[in-house]
């Protein structure tokens, strides 16, 4: 069971991710499942990528959004558990504790706290397979 003392890391070989405009898109290259993380989850993910412990992330979250520590800790642990359950992250080696701040985009500081949410898209491969290329269309032009 994950605790605040744990540090996590992305499974670099099989999981790719990018943060943009306060949202994270994650792809598990082995399963083909896509994920998005929004709300405060983008900041949490950024803290994980920066090597912070879950407790450090929660503390930074509480400072940034002016929320109670207990709430920040609960949300961080919940998201961390979900990420681990999806095998997107693993426990990393221990490191010295520190006070850290989460990287923020320009407009994040003004935003109210939104609970982190992990959304999975398990049917992307099926959907992509539905419309295979159809031959003979190059010269077909509707005239109606």
């Amino acid at each position: 069971m994950l605790g605040l003392q744990h540090r996590l890391r992305r499974r670099e070989d099989d999981v790719v991710a990018k943060i943009m405009d306060g949202e994270v898109v994650v792809i598990d290259l082995t399963t083909g499942v896509y994920y998005s993380i929004d709300g405060a989850g983008a900041a949490i993910w950024g803290g994980i990528e920066d090597g912070l412990s879950l407790g450090e992330i929660a503390a930074a979250l509480a400072r940034r959004y002016q929320i109670e520590s207990a709430r920040a800790e609960a949300d961080v642990l919940r998201l961390a558990a979900e990420l681990a359950a999806e095998d997107l992250v693993v426990v990393a080696d221990a490191a010295a504790s520190r006070v850290a701040e989460l990287a923020a985009s320009a407009d994040e500081a003004a935003q109210a706290y939104v609970e982190p949410r992990l959304t999975s898209y398990r049917d992307m491969e099926d959907l992509l397979a539905l419309d295979p290329p159809t031959p003979g269309l190059a010269d077909l032009r509707w005239k109606e």
Binding site: A17, Y121, R122, D123, D126, L128, P132, P133, P135, W142
Partner: protein, 375 residues
């Protein structure tokens, strides 16, 4: 002031399919009622321009499918940013998502960023969209259904499946049949002469044309003048041609190739009976067009087909098994008068139930209401 509606389709003209035709015709028919349309769609295997005008409607293509297929997250995010910027600039009041497909992954954040209302036209069985199994928890289909302001389902069957995935859909949905232009005069009966069984559609596994060949093989020997016409093209064509040859049917099976939208009525009118042994369907336009042409349909009991074909009245519904399909074909080919009676009944039902104007009025009402409720 015109209502600004952006139609989002996985594919669009010049790709040919029921969804693509529906979108094109809907925009043409609703524009005079005070709408301004634009299209966002995905590039696919054809080499097409990023921007184009189709009958006065700006079409913008993005490499969504390629970005998803390559799984390069940088490409994904770039395309998301680009389409978000596009929607923010065009500022639609409503986005009409024409079916659930992979590009919906890019649609949802773009709709959210633009503050538009989202109307989903559900035109396929949700189970089919998930590879034949009930969509798992955490699916794009579930996410799309949860994000829509209204679901206009092309069939009661698809809506029932959608509601089973997300019960809340029941409170913000309706069945809107696609509708078909039906001539005011009753159509001529099937032409006399050698029987012609017509299968029309993309040559893909879902359409079950391999079953059509297997069924035809059971009656071809006793009906040497009969012809089976496979009108369409697709990735399954080579396999179907091999199957026809292996069954000794090469002389009696015609692979017609692509049928332009303007040719559909002619092709169907030449049929003695239309055969649709589909493994999965939404509300197929071919069944509607067949009814409009006064042709009886032998069809599988899947998707929305039973909502169009009334067994024993406007056609025959059969199990997906060559012997059953063959028996149904024999029943109609052996009784041309019965086939003509059913075709006439199909035409009457098309005029009563699948009136094109009713479909347009329904979409007009939905789009206006959602435009006013814009987020």
């Amino acid at each position: 002031m015109a209502h600004r509606v952006l139609v989002w389709g996985e594919l669009f003209w010049p790709y040919v399919g029921g969804a693509e035709l529906f979108a094109a015709r809907l925009m043409a028919d609703l524009a005079p009622r005070g709408y301004e349309f634009a299209v966002v769609t995905s590039h696919d295997h054809l080499d097409l321009p990023d921007e184009e005008i189709f009958r006065g409607v700006p079409v913008r293509r993005f490499p969504f499918r390629h970005a998803l297929a390559t799984r390069r997250v940088e490409d994904l995010m770039e395309q998301r940013q680009r389409v978000v910027a596009h929607l923010e600039a065009w500022s639609p009041q409503v986005v009409l998502l024409n079916g659930v497909a992979s590009s919906a992954f890019f649609c949802l954040p773009a709709v959210r960023a633009a503050g538009a209302s989202l109307l989903l036209r559900l035109n396929s069985q949700p189970v089919r969209l998930s590879g034949g199994a009930r969509p798992r928890a955490g699916s794009l289909i579930e996410r799309v259904l949860g994000s829509t302001d209204w679901v206009a389902s092309a069939s009661a069957d698809a809506l029932e499946q959608a509601t089973s995935i997300l019960p809340a859909v029941a409170t913000r949905s309706s069945v809107v049949y696609s509708g078909v232009e039906t001539p005011a005069e009753s159509p001529a009966p099937p032409p006399p002469g050698p029987p012609r069984i017509v299968c029309l559609g993309r040559l893909v596994d879902d359409k079950g044309f391999d079953l059509a060949l297997a069924a035809f093989a059971r009656i071809a020997a006793s009906r040497p003048a009969a012809r089976l016409v496979l009108a369409g093209d697709g990735p399954a064509r080579a396999a179907l041609e091999r199957q026809a040859s292996a069954l000794g049917l090469a002389a009696q099976v015609e692979f017609r190739g692509w049928v332009l939208p303007g040719e559909v009525a002619q092709v169907l009118s030449e049929a003695s009976v239309v055969l649709m042994p589909s493994r999965t369907e939404g509300l197929p336009g071919v069944a509607l067009e067949s009814a409009a042409c006064g042709r009886a349909v032998v069809a599988s009991r899947v998707g929305g087909l039973p909502e169009i074909v009334v067994h024993g009245e406007t056609g025959l519904l059969v199990d997906l098994e060559p012997a059953a399909i063959a028996a149904a074909l024999e029943a109609l080919l052996g009784e041309p008068g019965e086939a003509a009676r059913m075709g006439l009944a199909a035409w009457r039902r098309a005029r009563a139930v699948f009136d094109r104007a009713r479909c347009l009025d329904a979409y007009d009402e939905l789009l206006r209401r959602l435009a006013q409720e814009r987020r």
